[in-house]
Symmetry: C2
Subunit: 461 residues, 2 copies
């Protein structure tokens, strides 16, 4: 039996144990955005550190101003000519709210049956604990079959990805020597469908802004002051309601400067994927796409920038009515960016856009919080080619070279701070409910992901 | 010593005891909008019932579908030719939030020093417990000096004014015989300033709507779906941002139909009041009026309809960022109405306004919750004239005949259900922070209000 066959047999035999480990990790509510879960973030970090210690890695928690980073190393068998791989993932998760929409508690994982067989339902199931554990299980198989990985491995697992990784780039810069490697490998993206693996070569970036508008020095009675006093709720809807024009284009000055047109090749390749936006939207109860009217579906999702209000609040939101003119109104806005845009310029353009619409009596403050450029990964590197081969072996068909509408800030940090290209080999599905209630991960994806990672190590080692 | 002098002397002597009673009532958090305070509403009702029982009234709590109504009667001395007076007030209060802006807990009344001497700070101090207790203290003085009021008195004190009095009109209709009287007297409005008493002859009405917009069947990742999926937060700002035109006019179709122009007399009278909108807005940290550009300050506040978003919320509003496209967005909107407008038509116009701007994938629901027409009180009735005389005696200057931007739905119910005109003799001041943190009532207003009510009873009896 070949080495690869032994690895795959070992993974198949250990399948249930791997799921049990995933469930254990998912029980820890490591919500990075919420300060009262800081201790849970440490517990989640310690849990994954211990997994890597079991596999012969040196591993430890590194302090940051907020949540720790887990760093682990394995020297591999030594001997030249083999690449040094840097695996990255994150142990933190999104806030689970709205809680009432979960069929089971978000941090009490349950196994349920889906159209593709069993799945695990919990916050973080696929984003990103499940996908991190895939490559850890592959390393476990190598540990059992060959005593260790076939080449030198560094693992970096952070706890601030869901809040924009504010401390990761500084940490990587401060530890650049220790983190030196030849390529980064990340599983935090998706497949094309459950039968078609994918490598993501294109990611949208992100610029987050919280807008806080203040007017009167106190809340006011809407009867006594209505018709004279500025209402920040009225104002914020007036300003943000102006963010898109009738064709779905974002109105910020210069927003589209530097946004490249798709190459004919890429356009053709994406068309060949036969993406049905009707089905894509139908799955979430929608039928009519928004966004730029003159652009194609995958282009709008993968290659065009957007503006979305993630949260808005102001005044009385409790039961019943309260006839108040509030003194403040607030919104959280995310701009999705593509290569060629600069988040600093988008932030500034938004600031100017709001200021230009702000009456004398209102003040606006702008808090950033996580930003990253859109990026493209070279599709022709030897590492990407190795990943394509590993996926083709596992799935019996070529991997789709796709884009991803979401941002993975670390990918640009890998490039800018460590000079590394990144292989984005992800196993999520469109219906995984990422960032939503009832997030899930199909166990078939989890298992084939681990097998694919074991194969990739065989090709690179 | 004349009867009136005895009444005033008695009120002066009992001043501290009256304040102590007010403080006791203010300690009861009778927040009608919040179901978990239902028992407190009953306690507040029982408290005021007991006050009236002490004064020789028959008094009891009457059940309604939500909060009880206190009804009390005193036959007076009997004998013909004297009017039967119906006093109205409310024991319920607005929600106190935002709590963090209160200098002292809202339901732990404190006496502080203000520019006009001592004041009591608590939710409900002036709206309306303090103002109800003024006429009860006047009745107490009559009880002590003359053994009872000089004419037949009915008192109605409800517990749902702050939520739009949903059950009061039905209650009055069901008990019209018992509540028969010649005029209604209400203290729930304001003075012109602390030296200038006022009678409010004009009130704006109100139409409340909660708008709930739903789109996708679940919350979505703004990276994976941004550019394709409808965002209800984006949509609600687009729709509500369209509510006012560049001149501050409300864009609802037909909104201004039937809105009367001011008579030259009233316009002249209001101009003579020398209202400074600069000072009015300056007191709350503002300087530039909003509302219809081509209308005067008091006209905008007293005689023109408005639209204000009292509350708006959707998506993630917690700490940090969450890159979500929510499935729902919500807003609470109040339209202030003037005589000639119909709240049913305004509600329907708003519904059409929203529906006309709603894309195929979004659904909107519209919940009403309290509505009342704007009204005008005849300024020449014998009762209004008696009130003017009582106020002139107390303050040594004529009362201003003013408007009020707020609505008192009961005034129209008095007219429509019981056929009664209403005398609106209020003693609040502009800086009382009604519906806001640190609501207060100046004790000088409280005391002179009680004296004015005692004088009014003398004139009417």
């Amino acid at each position: 039996m070949s080495l690869t066959e032994q690895l795959l047999t070992t993974l198949d035999a250990g399948r249930d144990a791997a799921v049990a480990r995933l469930v254990e990790w998912l029980r820890i509510p490591s919500i990075s955005a919420q300060p009262d879960h800081a201790a849970d973030c440490v517990r989640a970090a310690e849990w994954v550190r211990d997994q890597l210690l079991e596999l012969g890695f040196t591993a430890s928690l590194r302090q940051t101003p907020r949540h720790p980073v887990v760093v682990a190393h394995h020297p591999g068998p030594g001997g030249g000519g083999k690449p040094h791989l840097l695996y990255y993932g994150h142990y933190d998760v999104q806030p689970p709210d709205p809680l009432e929409l979960w069929a089971s508690p978000p941090f009490e994982p349950v196994l349920t049956e889906g159209p593709n067989g069993p799945r695990v339902v919990a916050r973080g199931a696929v984003d990103d604990k499940g996908q991190v554990l895939m490559w850890i299980e592959a390393l476990r198989a190598w540990h059992q079959v060959a005593g260790g990985p076939p080449c030198a491995i560094t693992a970096v697992i952070e706890g601030e990805e869901e809040i924009g990784s504010p401390n990761l780039a500084p940490f990587m810069a401060a530890n650049a020597d220790e983190l030196r490697a030849d390529v980064a490998i990340i599983s935090d993206t998706g497949m094309w469908d459950i039968d078609t693996p994918a490598l993501s070569t294109r990611l949208r970036g992100l610029c987050f802004v919280q807008l806080d508008i203040k007017a009167a020095s106190r809340d006011l009675h809407s009867g006594m002051y209505g018709g004279s006093a500025l209402n920040p709720n009225n104002l914020i809807t007036k300003i943000l309601g102006d963010l898109h024009d009738a064709n779905g284009r974002v109105r910020l000055p210069g927003f589209y400067d530097g946004v490249p047109e798709l190459s004919p090749e890429l356009r053709a390749q994406w068309q060949a994927l036969g993406f049905s936006e009707h089905d894509f939207l139908g799955a979430i109860g929608l039928s009519v796409p928004v966004g730029e009217k003159d652009r194609g579906p995958l282009e709008r999702l993968w290659a065009r920038p957007t503006a979305d209000i993630n949260g808005i609040w102001g005044g009385y939101t409790g039961p019943g009515s309260k006839t108040v003119i509030p003194s403040e109104a607030h919104a959280k806005i995310t701009f999705r960016l593509v290569p060629g845009q600069h988040h600093e310029r988008v932030f500034e353009a938004f600031r100017q856009f709001v200021q230009a619409r702000l009456p004398a009596d209102a003040t606006a403050t702008f808090q950033g919080g996580g930003a990253s450029p859109g990026i493209e990964v070279p599709a022709d590197s030897s590492f990407v080619q190795a990943a394509r081969a590993a996926l083709a072996d596992e799935y019996g068909r070529p991997a789709a070279m796709i884009g991803c509408g979401g941002s993975i800030p670390v990918v640009s940090s890998m490039q800018e701070v460590l000079g590394l290209d990144t292989v984005l080999m992800g196993f999520g599905l469109e219906d995984d409910q990422v960032h939503s209630p009832n997030e899930k991960f199909d166990l078939r994806c989890f298992h084939q992901g681990a097998r694919s990672h074991a194969r990739l190590l065989a090709k690179l080692g």
